[in-house]
């Protein structure tokens, strides 16, 4: 009976469980810290399991819709509504399922890690309330099929993220970073809201599938498109709207930073979802495709070159996060630029998109892992400054191994997962424009060079006297890092299995607009 209930209501449960869990967290925390820990871990575990169940259902049976307030959860268009899906509808297709798997995997690892990394901090009830709200917002962003709903989840993610970035205060610097992040996010959200108003004013609908069916691509639709693209490119930290990223990623607790990476990728999901599913062939796909390619290349180059001179380990990693987002934009941008040319799309466009989408999940894992290793080091020595570090490989061997795995993966060294997705991007982008592929490879070399610097600065050299008492990170932190490291290894060793199971269906879901529309509009 419970199983039936969970299966039937999985799309809403992945959002509702962390939401309810968040608001009950302060109450449960009053009982004892142990209750709070168990509560938070329990909520995240259940949410992750349901997300994986939902993803497996979608990948097996196709897109699932969930209608709020209807007599049956798949009654998308009420009989007396004039053919308009008036209710809020969650639509989970393979692309949404793909993002849910990422959120589940990283969310669980990060919470496990955070249980120890943040245990000495005060106000943990509020901290975990915001953390669960952040997971809820990401799940909502990737699950909803409604534009206004998406805006609401963006706002929830902005508020929760800003609160978490400010959590450590850091003599006011973290609060400053949080205010900057919140202001930039709010402006982006207002852009998005304005785009919704434009679309709603013309088509009397907020449902993505309904809008996709009605879209005429008028001048107002074009303006809405630009506003949506800019809002979500800003939220995902693409150059030149990336300035908030190093500030926020650096000053947030490391477990939060790892989750912020997933939040940024949910915005990237939104960007791809609206460009492909909402606008599809209506838009000037060559122009928007090239726009994504250009900001992708700028993100790759500026991200990595800004990372190299950094001395703050988390700021360096934050710039690399920008750089890696560039690969995703490049891959999917190439797919978009040839969307109307079926020959080129088949020849290299789909592979480029698969590379870009595969890179999303790979990036979530290796960047999450790298931020967690940085957090473990900061947890033990109390500094982010690499100039003050050295010789920690002697005392933090497991953390060093996890760092090596993450660093080799982000640099695209085989056999780790970063190599697999980058290889797809290099080869397909080369067929589109060799110059872009060469830039992508050079950026990978610079990434490797940058992480060699980090590795040498932190782990190499003789044991320093000031860190003679430093011990290995606690076991739960190592387990959190270990889960992500294992994922990196498995995804690197069995890339085609991941592509066949997760990436290819996600790419097909983006390309096949009609199946998304039919899943909603067809459900009368």
């Amino acid at each position: 009976m419970i199983t039936d209930f969970v299966i039937k209501n999985a799309p809403i449960l992945v959002v509702a469980i962390p939401l309810i869990g968040a608001f009950l967290c302060p109450l449960v925390g009053r009982i004892s810290p142990m209750w709070r820990k168990t509560w938070v871990l329990g909520i995240v575990t259940v949410t992750s399991l349901i997300a994986i169940l939902l993803a497996s259902m979608v990948l097996t049976h196709g897109a699932i819709t969930y209608v709020f307030g209807a007599s049956t959860s798949d009654l998308t268009v009420p009989i007396d509504s004039g053919g308009i899906p008036v209710r809020i509808i969650f639509t989970v297709d393979a692309m949404s399922a793909f993002m849910e798997v990422i959120t589940a995997l990283v969310g669980f690892s990060v919470i496990l890690y955070s249980m120890v990394a943040d245990k000495e901090r005060s106000n943990l009830e509020q901290y975990y309330t915001l953390f669960l709200l952040l997971i809820c917002s990401v799940m909502g962003m990737v699950t909803t099929g409604d534009l206004f709903n998406f805006f609401v989840f963006i706002e929830i993610s902005s508020m929760a993220s800003a609160g978490l970035v400010a959590y450590r205060v850091e003599k006011g610097r973290a609060i400053e970073a949080a205010i900057k992040y919140f202001m930039v996010s709010t402006i982006a959200a207002i852009f998005f809201l304005f785009a919704i108003a434009i679309l709603y004013g013309q088509y009397n609908a907020l449902n993505i599938a309904m809008l996709a069916e009605r879209l005429q691509f008028t001048l107002l639709d074009k303006i809405a498109l630009i506003l949506i693209v800019m809002a979500l490119a800003t939220k995902c930290g693409a150059v030149p709207m990336h300035f908030w990223t190093p500030d926020a990623y650096t000053l947030a607790p490391s477990s939060v930073t790892a989750m912020l990476v997933v939040t940024s990728q949910a915005s990237l999901y939104g960007l791809f979802r609206f460009v492909f599913t909402l606008y599809h062939l209506h838009l000037n796909y060559v122009m928007i495709g090239w726009f994504l390619i250009i900001i992708g290349v700028l993100s790759m180059v500026i991200g990595v070159t800004m990372a190299i001179p950094q001395k703050d380990v988390k700021r360096l990693m934050a710039y690399h996060a920008i750089s890696q987002t560039g690969y995703m934009l490049l891959g999917v941008g190439v797919g978009l630029a040839v969307l109307g040319d079926s020959t080129q799309l088949t020849r290299f466009g789909i592979i480029a998109m698969e590379g870009g989408i595969f890179h999303i999940i790979n990036h979530a894992m290796y960047k999450g892992l790298l931020f967690l290793t940085a957090g473990a080091i900061i947890f033990r020595i109390g500094s982010r400054d690499m100039n003050r570090m050295g010789g920690l490989g002697h005392s933090m061997k497991y953390t060093m191994i996890f760092f090596i795995i993450g660093a080799l993966s982000i640099a695209g060294i085989p056999p780790f997962n970063g190599f697999a997705s980058k290889l797809l991007i290099y080869e397909s982008v080369y067929l589109f424009n060799p110059f872009l592929a060469i830039i992508a490879m050079v950026v990978s070399i610079l990434t490797l060079a940058s992480f060699v610097k980090v590795f040498h600065s932190i782990f190499m050299g003789p044991p320093l006297p000031e860190y003679s008492n430093v011990k290995e990170a606690p076991l739960p932190m190592l387990i959190g890092m270990g889960i992500l490291a294992l994922g990196i290894l498995l995804f690197g060793l069995f890339p085609q299995t991941v592509i066949d199971t997760l990436v290819h269906p996600a790419t097909a879901a983006l390309l096949n607009q009609s199946s998304y529309v039919n899943a909603v509009i067809g459900g009368v």
Partner: protein, 114 residues
């Protein structure tokens, strides 16, 4: 059903398991060469101390090359690039917003022209 499918890249394929086997074989060969090396080596003796032309070894904290000293040549060579790039990251929120508004305005103009 195939037990293992290599990654198909459209232009070719990539087999990580073959790469892994090759790496393991290389490591085994390297290990064999290593164990056939100097037999008289002993850890923690005078042998392991660095020889710096007869000078005494400086304190450990001094010999480690810190992050700020790495890649100075690269950064110096790209000085003209970094001279423009780093000051763009002002840390001032209004500048961040200006970039967002500027790019949005530029795109809207391009849209109207195209």
């Amino acid at each position: 059903m195939e037990l293992y499918t290599p990654l198909s890249t459209g232009s070719g394929y990539w087999n990580p398991l073959m790469w892994l086997i090759a790496t393991i074989l290389t490591l085994i060969i390297a290990y064999i060469i290593w164990v056939r090396g100097e037999k008289n080596y002993k850890r923690g003796t005078e042998q392991t101390k660095p020889f710096i032309s007869g000078n005494p070894e400086p304190p450990k904290g001094v010999v480690h090359i810190r992050a700020g000293n790495l890649y100075w040549g690269f950064i110096d060579a790209l000085d003209r690039y970094y001279r423009y790039l780093i000051p763009l990251h002002t840390g001032i929120m209004t500048d961040y917003l200006l970039w967002i508004f500027g790019i949005t305005a530029g795109l809207l103009v391009v849209l109207v022209v195209v």
